[in-house]
């Protein structure tokens, strides 16, 4: 199909769909006046039944915990897939050394920059942890906190340079951490089966409303998600960054063997 014909067909399809979209938009409830009973019930029952104040966390980690397990597996799957695809040609072996691209200037890092990045890294890491831990109380949670922790690890790269960073962050370790996160979630979901309860049941003490340790098993699954997400995103960033460093092994000297 020529590009012109393709665009024409696309416009035709959109033109066919447009009046219907308008029709649906008019038939939908007015924006800002929802009628869903599900959400209202969660808002009404979440605090008394689960002692947590963040209803989104209550939905994610208790009422619909299975969705979140699927979501974590999806991330796990995508990270594994991306790692396979990126490593394909260079293999895992290049993991422990930094490549150097010919013609790229090696910028010296000033002491101020190193110090600043180290401080920022610590602060970001703490903030990420704070966010993971307060997932059931305030906005945020395992996913957001996990991504923030991953970006803190990236700041470490800015502070230490690629080589030392690479020696510090080992991919087998990340694999283990990520797997532990998923396993923890699976375990928390399967454990109630042993006592004859339904999977994903929240059998732990629920704590007090608005307290940091409220929500029972939600704390465990929230932490599991944080762990898996942090390790998964670090792994992803690591492999993508390696891609900008990967040498053509046959044509360039191996820096690690100097």
């Amino acid at each position: 199909m020529s590009p012109g014909l393709r665009s024409l067909l696309l416009l035709l399809a959109l033109a066919l769909l447009a009046p219907f979209a308008w029709h649906v938009a008019k038939a939908l409830p007015q924006f800002g006046s929802p009628t869903a009973a599900y959400g209202a019930t969660v808002n009404a029952l979440g605090p008394p039944l689960r002692h947590v104040s963040n209803m989104v966390a209550a939905v994610n980690f208790d009422f619909r915990a299975l969705d979140t397990l699927g979501e974590e597996s999806m991330l796990f799957c995508a990270v594994t897939g991306a790692v396979v695809l990126l490593r394909g040609t260079r293999g895992e072996g290049t993991n422990r050394r930094a490549g150097l691209i010919p013609g790229r200037a090696v910028l010296a890092r000033s002491d101020a920059q190193v110090l600043l990045c180290r401080i920022a890294c610590t602060l970001t890491m703490l903030f990420g942890l704070y966010m993971v831990l307060h997932g059931t109380v305030t906005p945020g949670g395992g996913f957001q906190g996990g991504v923030i922790i991953a970006s803190a690890v990236l700041l470490l790269y800015l502070a230490e340079g690629y080589g030392p960073w690479r020696r510090l962050i080992r991919s087998p370790l990340l694999d283990v951490l990520e797997s532990l996160g998923v396993l923890l979630f699976v375990g928390a979901g399967a454990a109630p089966l042993l006592s004859g309860h339904a999977a994903m049941s929240n059998l732990m003490p629920l704590g007090h409303f608005r307290d940091l340790f409220s929500g029972g098993v939600m704390l465990v699954t929230n932490f599991a998600v944080g762990l898996a997400v942090a390790a998964g995103f670090v792994m992803l960033l690591l492999e993508f960054l390696e891609e900008t460093r990967a040498l053509q092994s046959d044509s360039l000297p191996d820096e690690a063997q100097r």
Partner: protein, 588 residues
């Protein structure tokens, strides 16, 4: 059934998903330190246990569905009528049987791939197990959004597995696959959102009760059309099918076994289940499905069959035959009768077994003869032991020969929708795919060949798979599949009929029509087509030249539609969606 006996069984339901997820995570953690054999064995054992658990659930489900509300959030927990807080899994026998079959297919794919993916730290097995968990969850879930989650996990695993060989074509096939299916999943999610805006629930049963009274509502119709478009994309129905021939052609053979045998057909089963549980009560949508899906199925069966005939690359040929067979599956759905659903189950299982065996044969040729092209492989299939009879048998099963599960499934579907013309067209279409496979088998293993016709211009490229693998293991898995496929299947048919009535209450017609006449017509057709292909000579007379030129033009145009460019695919998908929605409006 008393609560005491049903509780441990209900506990199996979540385990069917949790077990492969947990094992996948554990395997990734330990794969750096453990031998590859251990990883292969645990993946095999996991899929076999999932198959056993699902089979047990399917059998127990015949006396009444087994349900588990995750987290104990049963509908009563909300204290309000019509409000469901939680997510549930339920093993109605059809869903559980399909999940069991999918898990069995995965187990045999693991056997087939024994030793092929030794050096990758178990990544292949991890992805496959995640894929299996998603398939099982997709079959069993009773919640619309949960269905989407498993659908998406299934997609992500499949995208990665398609690109796995990292060849040029496999990467590009994976890109097309990912983009079209990601768009499909966005449509599905938007559709779920629309339905939620109207009904305020995500639970299938509750939504079904509300949707029943909303016939003619544009929001519900739009939601349904968007979800259907997503599932039809995954199920490779014209015009949403274009990605399939790219993806299945380029994925490793062991992966294509599960793609063609389970993923595509399970997606279509998802559509059938959604129709039965949610949308059939809505008069407008029931009417739409009946009117729109049947012609779509016939078009898919015919287009797929023509494209199958015009291929030379074995995996691509098999991919197009899958499209053709999915047309039959859609036709079974469009009957909206329990007999059609029973036929759907038997047909999906029969098709998956035979197609799986055929992809394994293609994999053997790729591994041991380093090519997947029937013209290049001419006469080179000798010395592969039992591969030749296996391929002949599999091809014959697709030619509408009255043996085995596939045929029983077709009979059941025909009994539900007894229009004689439709039936004849369908059996001719599927027989053409059988003839194409037979043609390849005769060329590769027996050295019968005329001058290659339309298939000569079809796309192909050199490809091979890891060769240092035991041939007998590959043949064993292939023959297990074929052995299951030629079983008379009387008990499976009885089971499917009972199971279908649970999913879709209604009357079953007493006996299946005997398919003798169309079976004979199909066989005659196969013989004629094959004779024309294998006795073909270079066209010299003017008349023959004109025929050859016309043939070339027709198939050239068809090949041109399957251009491999993702932009084209997206446009066709959108046109399909527009057609679906315009139809819904006209019938509303």
């Amino acid at each position: 059934m008393s609560a005491a006996t049903s509780l441990p069984l209900a506990g199996l339901l979540p385990l069917v998903v949790l077990l492969p997820l947990g094992i996948a995570a554990a395997l990734l953690a330990v794969s750096h330190w453990l031998p590859a054999r251990f990883i292969e064995l645990s993946a095999l054992a996991t899929s076999l246990s999932v198959a056993a658990a699902c089979a047990r659930l399917a059998q127990a489900g015949l006396t009444g569905p087994i349900v588990q509300w995750m987290g104990g959030w049963a509908p009563a927990a909300s204290g309000r009528s019509g409000v469901v807080l939680g997510v549930s899994f339920a093993a109605d026998p059809t869903s559980a049987a399909l999940a069991a079959f999918a898990a069995l297919l995965f187990a045999l794919a693991f056997v087939f791939a024994w030793g092929e993916f030794d050096d990758t730290h178990g990544h292949f097995h991890v992805l496959m197990l995640l894929f299996l968990a998603a398939l099982a969850g997709f079959c069993l879930t009773q919640d619309l959004f949960n269905l989407f989650v498993w659908f998406e996990l299934m997609s992500v695993a499949a995208f990665a597995l398609t690109a796995y060989p990292l060849g040029k074509s496999s990467l590009e096939g994976a890109l097309n696959f990912t983009i079209t299916n990601a768009l499909g999943s966005f449509l599905m999610l938007a559709g779920i959102g629309l339905l939620y805006a109207r009904t305020g629930t995500l639970d299938m049963a509750t939504m079904g009760r509300m949707v029943m009274h909303l016939s003619g509502d544009p929001v519900v119709a739009a939601g349904f059309c968007m979800i259907a478009a997503a599932l039809l994309t995954k199920g490779a129905i014209v015009p949403f099918h274009l990605w399939l021939s790219d993806a299945h052609t380029v994925a490793p053979a062991a992966v294509s076994v599960t793609f063609s045998g389970a993923m595509v057909s399970v997606a279509l089963f998802g559509l059938a289940k959604l129709l039965a549980k949610v949308f059939l009560g809505n008069a407008q949508l029931a009417h739409l499905s009946q009117e729109f899906l049947a012609p779509l199925g016939i078009a898919t069966a015919i287009l797929g069959a023509l494209m199958t005939w015009a291929q030379r690359h074995l995996k691509r040929l098999l991919a197009f035959s899958t499209i053709s067979h999915m047309g039959v599956v859609v036709l079974a759905i469009a009957t909206l009768r329990p007999a059609g659903l029973a036929g759907l189950l038997v047909y999906i299982i029969g098709h998956g077994l035979v197609k799986g065996a055929l992809f394994m044969l293609a994999g053997m040729l790729l591994a041991l003869r380093a090519s997947g092209d029937e013209i290049i492989l001419y006469r080179r299939g000798r010395g592969l032991g039992m591969a030749a009879p296996a391929m002949l048998l599999a091809a014959l099963l697709f030619c509408n020969v009255p043996w085995g599960l596939l045929h029983r499934g077709e009979d059941l579907i025909a009994a539900a929708d007894a229009d004689a013309t439709t039936r004849l067209v369908l059996s001719l279409a599927t027989a053409l795919t059988g003839a194409a496979i037979l043609r390849a088998a005769l060329r590769i293993f027996f050295g019968c060949s005329g001058v290659p016709g339309v298939e000569r211009a079809a796309p192909s490229e050199p490809e091979h798979e890891k060769a240092q693998r035991p041939l007998w293991v590959m043949q064993l898995s292939c023959w297990i599949l074929l052995g299951l496929a030629v079983l008379p299947g009387g008990s499976l048919v009885a089971f499917a009929r009972a199971a279908a009535q649970q999913l879709l209450p209604g009357t079953l017609s007493a006996a299946a029509l005997s398919g003798e006449s169309s079976s004979i017509a199909a066989l005659l057709f196969v013989v004629a087509v094959l004779a024309a292909a294998l006795l073909r000579v270079r066209p010299v007379r003017p008349l023959m030249r004109a025929v050859a030129r016309g043939e070339g033009r027709l198939f050239g145009a068809l090949q041109g539609l399957h251009s491999g460019l993702v932009g084209d695919y997206v446009v066709w998908m959108l046109l399909g969606l527009a057609a679906l929605i315009v139809c819904a409006q006209l019938l509303g």
